[in-house]
Assembly symmetry: C2
Homo-oligomer: 238 residues x 2
DNA sequence: TCAAACAACTTGTATTTACAAGTATATATT
DNA sequence: AATATATACTTGTAAATACAAGTTGTTTGA
């Protein structure tokens, strides 16, 4: 009956305000309506409103000041070095394009994988893909992804050209990244990657090995990312 | 009169549980007492207990499962790549020592500083220090710090040998890191730093430029960190 | 024996109420 | 006019209460 089947009210208010902030309804430093105003606007009580605001503050969309109000903070905090939405937001607003180097296909897991795997993951097989990401036509990231084939029907036949891997996982499979861990090194890139990134002789790259947890139990995403930081540097908030 | 002058009750419970977790009272995966048990144990109501638990979950100390309970999660999420407590927790439990290369002293701000500065910062002058950090006797980090001299009396005369810069700021000046931003590159280190880090010829290092926000209005901490990732890699959770 | 239903736990959501504490403005006082 | 003071806002903390929803073990029934 109710169109809101089991979506909490504080969550709905969170989404509404988040949408408004992302759509530039407010500008940097603007004050949100006060908690009491939000209460009457959306017909809920202060604890509910406060939970929504706490989440927004936690995600870096607003900053709260006792006695004053809640203020817009333009740049939401990112998770990890690169944003959860993939590498997209890490390089700002610049034009970012993706070239598939190796289309998603099933392989056996590599022998000495960068992270230990569970039994379930080993049994499920591994979806592997490699993508080159270009910023303003300069190759900047070489991204090697590994995903266990757990509840991902028809995954290898999807088109990955435009939208990011994360967007597809989120929209078609309701998979969301919850957190993860990563190792970072400055190393020399392998020859093949070195050519794709058009590296100078002896030029080092930034190498990330990441394991990402999802909301799906037992499903993790792995990626090995090589970054050419010669022209663009990786930027992140925390 | 009350020894708890203005420290909220949920915060106290947070500190108690955090201390217990850090002191290994529980082991990985253990269940915390239920919310109702915590209520009667510490004489507070569920909303108060829940606020403490929410903060713990947010900091990565526990994971909550509806219908089951709150479970210990050994590794708290870090802020940024390296932990807020400095580089200490980024390399795990290994023996980490600090050598002061350049003692804290007042300098004019560098001309082309890595981040834009406010007028107040420029007027206040800059405390500068350089430290070499060794993991198991291997030099791994070369850390150059810059702090505006805002409300930091007798700062340059303190001893920085043992405790970290962050510990001193926290304990003596009530300065806490709230967030920040950083740029990361893989580059060749300058000669001097290359020698301190005992780098091989042409070996690249990871270079971080960080700006950290604090709870003090207008006070930011800046650091430029060079990491030798040849032997140890930087590990982080998010 | 097996399976469904129930009961007893857990955390999640939400309301209502109250007061404390920080901030800014208007007002009265000197 | 300058300075206190009151006031009306804001967010912060905390209680008491109620029910929803997920999990687990037990009891009941076939």
């Amino acid at each position: 009956m109710s169109p809101s089947r089991s979506v909490p009210r504080y969550r709905k208010l969170y989404e509404i305000l988040r949408r408004q902030i992302l759509d530039n309804i407010y500008s940097e430093g603007d004050m949100l309506p006060s908690e009491n105003e939000l209460c009457s606007l959306y017909g809920m009580t202060r604890p509910t409103v406060r939970q929504a605001l706490a989440n927004l503050a936690n995600d870096g969309f607003i900053k709260k000041k006792q006695g004053k109000g809640s203020f817009i903070h333009r740049f939401p905090r990112e998770i990890g070095i690169l944003s959860v939405s993939g590498t997209t937001s890490a390089v700002g607003d610049r034009n970012l394009r993706t070239r598939i180097i190796v289309k998603p296909h099933l392989i056996p897991w590599p022998d000495d994988f960068m992270f230990p795997l569970t039994g379930l993951e080993k049994e499920s097989g591994c979806i592997h893909m490699e993508r080159l990401r270009l910023v303003e036509k300069d190759p900047v990231f070489y991204d090697i992804s590994y995903i266990a084939r757990i509840n991902l029907p028809r995954f290898t036949s999807r088109k990955f050209e435009d939208r990011s891997l994360f967007a597809i996982l989120r929209n078609h499979y309701n998979v969301e990244i919850k957190g993860g861990e990563q190792r970072i090194r400055a190393i020399k890139a392998p020859g093949k990657i070195s050519r794709y990134l058009r590296l100078a002789k002896d030029q080092a790259v930034l190498h990330l090995e990441r394991k990402m947890e999802t909301n799906v139990d037992g499903l993790f995403l792995y990626s090995s990312i090589y970054c050419n930081t010669g022209k663009y540097s990786i930027f992140g908030r925390f």
